[in-house]
């Protein structure tokens, strides 16, 4: 007879390590959103106009929208393979809080999707002749914003994991919740270009992230339970 014995840190660390190992062994899946991001941004100057002034004015929104869609693309696979091979039901039966284990999975998703997107964005910003001085703000706002996007998106991914083709439904579910992040993220970069204060925008992005960090893990856990029940 065993009493519950804790060991939550052990479980979280092992889950982080497992997901990182798995993702790094499937490099194609990690690269997909980054390639998508690069392709979209490369096509815009060709399709619209190479005029630097025009591009600079739409660059913040463009970079943010493309990064958001790239992050969205990668979400569907977050719980999919675990669901297919039965690891997800084992995760749900672990004597550990599911919210914490779900958070570990989301953290890996952000590390391998959101963070690389944020680091790549300044490079692509050059192609859109993004004015100097806004590059750091672009990377920072994306790093903060994509963390919220990963957390919110994971709720949708958890809800749709039981469906055979949940991709479209997932987008419809989470896009409305992505809009505040998009507004304040792109707003921060705009403000940096016009030399206005960026603190307010970044503070709101931080607040959104704090809120998502607090609520999303519970919502993810509940959604996973619903999906497994179905």
């Amino acid at each position: 007879m065993h009493a519950p014995q804790g060991g939550l840190m052990v479980a979280i660390k092992a889950t982080l390590k497992r997901d990182l190992t798995l993702m790094l062994r499937r490099r194609g899946e990690v690269l997909n959103p980054l390639v998508f991001f690069a392709l979209v941004i490369t096509l815009f100057p060709i399709g619209i106009s190479p005029d630097p002034e025009l591009l600079a004015s739409i660059a913040p929104g463009l970079l943010w929208v493309a990064a958001l869609l790239a992050a969205l693309l990668s979400l569907d696979s977050l719980f999919r393979s675990d669901y297919d091979d039965g690891s997800l039901e084992q995760l749900l039966l672990a004597p550990q809080p599911l919210a914490a284990l779900g958070l570990a999975k989301v953290a890996v998703h952000w590390l391998l999707t959101g963070l690389p997107l944020a680091l790549m964005a300044p490079l692509l910003g050059i192609m859109l002749s993004l004015p100097a001085g806004s590059y750091a703000v672009l990377a920072l706002s994306l790093a903060l914003g994509t963390a919220s996007l990963s957390l919110i998106g994971a709720i949708g991914a958890a809800l749709t994991v039981g469906l055979a083709r949940g991709g479209v439904l997932l987008s419809l579910l989470v896009l409305p919740l992505y809009i505040p992040v998009l507004i304040f993220g792109a707003g921060a970069v705009q403000a940096a270009i016009f030399g206005e204060g960026i603190a307010a925008h970044l503070a709101i992005l931080g607040a959104l992230l704090a809120l998502a960090l607090m609520l999303a893990p519970w919502a993810i856990a509940a959604s996973l339970r619903i999906s497994i029940n179905g």
């Binding site: 065993h2 092992a14 393979s81 091979d85 039965g86 039901e89 004597p95 497994i228």
Partner: protein, 206 residues
């Protein structure tokens, strides 16, 4: 201390059809209980309900006399469930798979212990091969290695003999009997005749 899982007036409906109704169950230490019934009679559903995965049922579940809702954490710390899907990650080696399962229950475990568990299920020499390259039977064996590795009292096994060869079946059956005799209990569905089990109890569905 003996443990027991009780179900009272358990009923489950699927697609306007009662899979089972008014089911009373007592599973005690030292027992092997086999759920029997034709395909589609609700064996897997019953196991999922009894292992706390499905909430879509009527009736009450008790773990050591306490309602399942309150005893859930304690119950999960004593449960080892193996479902239809073995839960083995194709991209990880058998050793890495087992390490994650050990960590989920809060134990760090040790590499020699995991290697010994794999050797016990006949997978010595396959420790570092990606599980995706193993055969279906070998993947099932990786999952079964958790029976040796993790000390849990209640085993809930859904068709554990699937894809396992004849020697493996005999060894697994002996392991189930040994577990029951040492005070654990086993809840199993299988179409395989459990001939070696002296303490077998049957529950018929459908």
């Amino acid at each position: 201390m003996s443990l027991c899982l009780q179900a009272r007036q358990l009923a489950c409906e699927r697609d306007d059809r009662w899979l089972f109704e008014g089911l009373d169950l007592d599973i005690q230490s030292g027992e092997i209980v086999r759920i029997e019934g034709p395909n589609g009679s609700g064996k897997t559903t019953l196991l999922k309900i009894l292992s706390g995965q499905l909430t879509d049922y009527r009736g009450e579940l008790y773990w050591n006399g306490e309602p399942m809702r309150q005893a859930r954490e304690h119950f999960l710390a004593n449960l080892l469930y193996l479902g239809h899907a073995p839960g083995v990650k194709a991209g990880l080696s058998p050793l890495e798979n087992l390490a994650w399962y050990q960590a989920l229950s809060g134990e760090k475990g040790s590499e020699p212990a995991r290697e010994a568990a794999l050797a016990a299920v006949g997978l010595a020499g396959f420790e570092d091969v990606p599980a995706g390259q193993l055969s279906a039977g070998q993947q099932r064996r990786v999952a079964l290695a958790r029976l040796t590795l993790t000390q849990r009292a209640l085993w809930v096994l859904d068709e554990p003999f699937t894809a396992i060869d004849r020697q493996g079946v005999a060894a697994l059956e002996a392991q189930l009997v040994a577990h029951a005799q040492s005070g654990g209990c086993v809840l199993v569905t299988t179409h395989h005749a459990l001939t070696e089990s002296p303490v077998l109890r049957r529950i018929q569905l459908g």
